[in-house]
């Protein structure tokens, strides 16, 4: 027996819109069954995962804090993925952005006088560092034809080890008993808090602004048009005279810059110093977020919020219901699989061809 996927000619806009919702509902049902099998109430689990984090001002801020870097990185990645160019190294670009931006925070520690320029400089340097780091795999691809999937991924480890080295070595706090971390930044090098309680910082607003700009660029500019055309039909794009090389460089610069900005916003916002590790895997999770959001900025924002919500709800489930962390991770994986599956079903007709060889 063979399974045939044929593109639907009568794609329904309603089903397109509904498919992620249905996938989410299906994930809830499966998740609920697992929770019930573990002897807990699925209703209580639902409340803990999805309602409790939204019912407090503090946890709402935490959801936003967690979603912002994911959405910012994923929006940058959407430019790459739409153009069929594969930047898997956003994690490294994030780390490099945090490192070089944060370096300024370390260097200006204790500086006297007017220090208003410190924070903007950190943000600019962090963004540029991420951009330049992203351009390495792009150049290798354009000049030497090396697969950007491999080089961008491998450069993640280079970036992580570089940060590790800097935090343990040259940038280590001299008064810190040799422990591997830098001095804590002065206030001039920290993103200001937006609300009482010192949780939500200005990095979230910066991420939102960047996403709005990205949406406009993708929808309204020639560059955005190029990205969309190359993704939809590479041959047509070549006939139209769009340069592959220039596009590769451009989308890597955009996604690297976005990841770098997210990195320095995390360092200058939440962490406030350089540590051997500054990311709980945002750059990789953002790849999932980009696809969950179907590579559109609005969808990405929703997907980032959902992932942030389940992560924070998952913590509540560990505390209140003593459910293991693995369940949260399994649920996130299930959600991605079901969303992609539902997407395929709404785009293609599945036919079983009996008797044919597989």
């Amino acid at each position: 027996m063979r399974i045939d996927l044929t593109p639907r000619t009568d794609r329904s806009a309603l089903m397109d819109a509904l498919s992620p919702v249905l996938a989410f509902a299906a994930a809830l049902v499966v998740g609920g069954l697992v929770v019930a099998a573990m002897g807990r109430s699925p209703a209580a689990a639902f409340v803990t995962y999805f309602v409790a984090p939204l019912s407090e001002v503090w946890s709402l801020q935490e959801v936003a804090l967690k979603a912002a870097p994911l959405a910012l990185i994923a929006t940058g990645l959407a430019f790459c993925f739409r153009a069929n160019i594969w930047n898997i190294g956003a994690e490294g670009q994030f780390v490099v952005g945090g490192l070089f931006g944060g370096w300024i925070g370390v260097a200006t520690h204790g500086a006297a006088g007017n220090t208003l320029w410190v924070l903007p400089l950190m943000l600019v340097v962090g963004t540029l560092a991420g951009m330049l780091y992203g351009l390495i795999p792009a150049l290798l691809k354009v000049r030497l034809g090396v697969s950007e999937i491999l080089t961008s991924l491998m450069l993640v480890y280079v970036a992580e080890l570089l940060l590790d080295y800097m935090a343990r070595g040259p940038l280590r706090d001299p008064a810190g008993f040799n422990f591997p971390q830098s001095v804590t930044f002065d206030d001039a090098a920290r993103l200001p808090y937006l609300m009482e309680g010192d949780t939500l910082h200005a990095g979230v607003a910066i991420a939102l602004a960047a996403i709005v700009v990205a949406t406009l660029v993708l929808a309204r500019t020639l560059f955005g048009f190029t990205v969309r055309v190359v993704g939809a039909s590479p041959r047509a794009a070549r006939f139209a005279g769009f340069s592959d090389a220039r596009l590769t460089l451009a989308v890597f610069a955009v996604s690297g810059g976005a990841a770098g900005l997210a990195g320095i916003a995390e360092v200058a916002g939440k962490i406030g110093q350089l540590q051997p590790s500054i990311s709980p895997g945002y750059g990789f999770t953002a790849i999932i977020v980009a696809f969950l959001g179907r590579l559109s900025p609005a969808g990405i924002l929703v997907a980032a919020l959902v992932i942030a919500l389940t992560t924070i709800g998952g913590e509540g489930a560990q505390i209140d219901l003593k459910l293991p962390l693995d369940l949260t991770r399994a649920f996130q994986g299930l959600l991605l699989a079901l969303v992609l599956g539902a997407d395929a079903l709404s785009r293609y007709r599945v036919r079983l061809v009996p008797g044919a060889a597989a």
């Binding site: 503090w58 804090l65 343990r168 040799n178 971390q181 010192d198 939440k270 509540g316 505390i319 962390l325």
Partner: protein
């Protein structure tokens, strides 16, 4: 009556932190939260801390309720700690060095809650620190290894070059030199606390270089298992790992936090908790050596004697003269290294044929 009093005091001690002001009624339990950097199933450091959580629940019964969050990335730990603080936990153990700044930040927001941070050096009015003098156990392991090694070469799998690890290497070497002045030590840095794959690779490399006894400052049982497979000997780490290597484990340096965790929870219940620093060793029962095995009786007897001598203070692992690699005398003959020197150690003792990573 005492229980009621305790509970009343606990109510006062629990206090009302931040925006989540909740009145505690008499008779309510003390909720104790734990934050782990690894999985509870690592059979090493996090596992051992979780054993103490269970011991606490067993010892104080219905006066306490415990919860834990596992696999918490250090850069993302502030929220995890704060969610424990907000869900009514009156005493929170943050068990990894990297949780230091986040613990202090959350503690500042919740001045009436009590925090216990393992292996750090910064305290506050409501933040205590605690750690164990692991180097005491390492010295005894060194003596055993020096007596048993046939090749005259020992192997050491190290995690990160922080003082705790470096002082462990030095103590191990000094112990070995005390019985065999010509002993050699080979060190592999794996830059992780827990990664069975990497640890096993490091063990293989060390054995291939002629080491016949392994010591490790990482948390998985993989190196022990590798030694077992090749018919060599090794020391366990953090917990008694005998079941993984019944023919290879000589002893294991077991972290026993039970007594400390119970003592601190009782202090909160009784209202006598105060911020302080605890650095306990063999004498205090915080460093325990798993039963000596796989060695001749005379070696066993000598190890028992050293254990007693360290406990009663007649033997100090860093008893002078102690020389750095370049020959400078750091501890004079007849003196013991002062605690601050051990806490900030970033140099190797003479005889180690390697350079410490900086």
């Amino acid at each position: 009556m005492r229980i009621v009093q305790g509970a009343l005091l606990a109510v006062l001690a629990l206090g009302i932190g931040g925006a989540q002001a909740q009145e505690k009624k008499p008779g309510e339990k003390l909720k104790v939260g734990f934050v782990y950097v690894g999985p509870v199933a690592d059979y090493g450091y996090s596992f051992q801390h979780d054993q103490s959580r269970k011991a606490l629940a067993a010892a104080l019964g219905d006066r306490v309720e415990t919860s834990f969050l596992e696999n918490v990335p250090e850069a993302d730990s502030e929220r995890s700690i704060e969610s424990l603080a907000r869900s009514g936990h009156g005493l929170i153990f943050t068990t990894s060095f990297g949780f230091m700044e986040p613990t202090l930040k959350v503690a500042k927001k919740f001045p009436k809650l009590k925090f216990e941070h393992a292996t750090g050096y910064k305290r506050a009015a409501n933040v205590s620190t605690y750690s164990a003098r692991f180097y005491e156990g390492r010295y005894i392991c060194g003596e055993i290894a020096g007596r048993l090694s046939k090749t005259g070469t020992l192997g050491y799998i190290a995690s990160f070059p922080i003082p705790e690890v470096v002082s462990g290497i030095n103590a191990f070497m000094l112990g070995a030199q005390s019985v065999n002045p010509n002993i050699k030590l080979k060190i592999v840095w794996v830059n992780t606390w827990f990664d069975p794959g990497k640890e096993a690779e490091a063990a293989k490399a060390l054995l291939a270089q002629g080491a016949d006894i392994l010591s490790q400052h990482t948390d998985s049982a993989a190196p022990l298992q590798e030694a077992e497979k090749q018919g060599k000997l090794a020391f366990g780490q953090s917990s008694d790992q005998m079941r993984f290597a019944p023919k290879a484990q000589l002893t294991s340096i077991v972290d026993d936090w039970d007594g400390y965790v119970i003592q601190e929870a009782k202090a909160v219940l009784d209202g006598t908790w105060k911020s302080h620093d605890t650095w306990g060793g063999i004498k205090d029962g915080m460093v325990v050596l798993a039963p000596f095995a796989n060695m001749p009786d005379d070696v066993k007897a000598k190890a028992e004697a050293s254990k007693k001598a360290i406990a009663d203070g007649t033997l100090h692992p860093f008893h002078g003269p102690v020389f750095k690699q370049d020959g400078t005398e750091v501890v004079k003959a007849g003196e013991n290294a002062p605690d601050p020197m051990i806490l900030g150690m970033n140099w190797y003792v003479k005889g180690i044929d390697d350079k410490p990573p900086q």
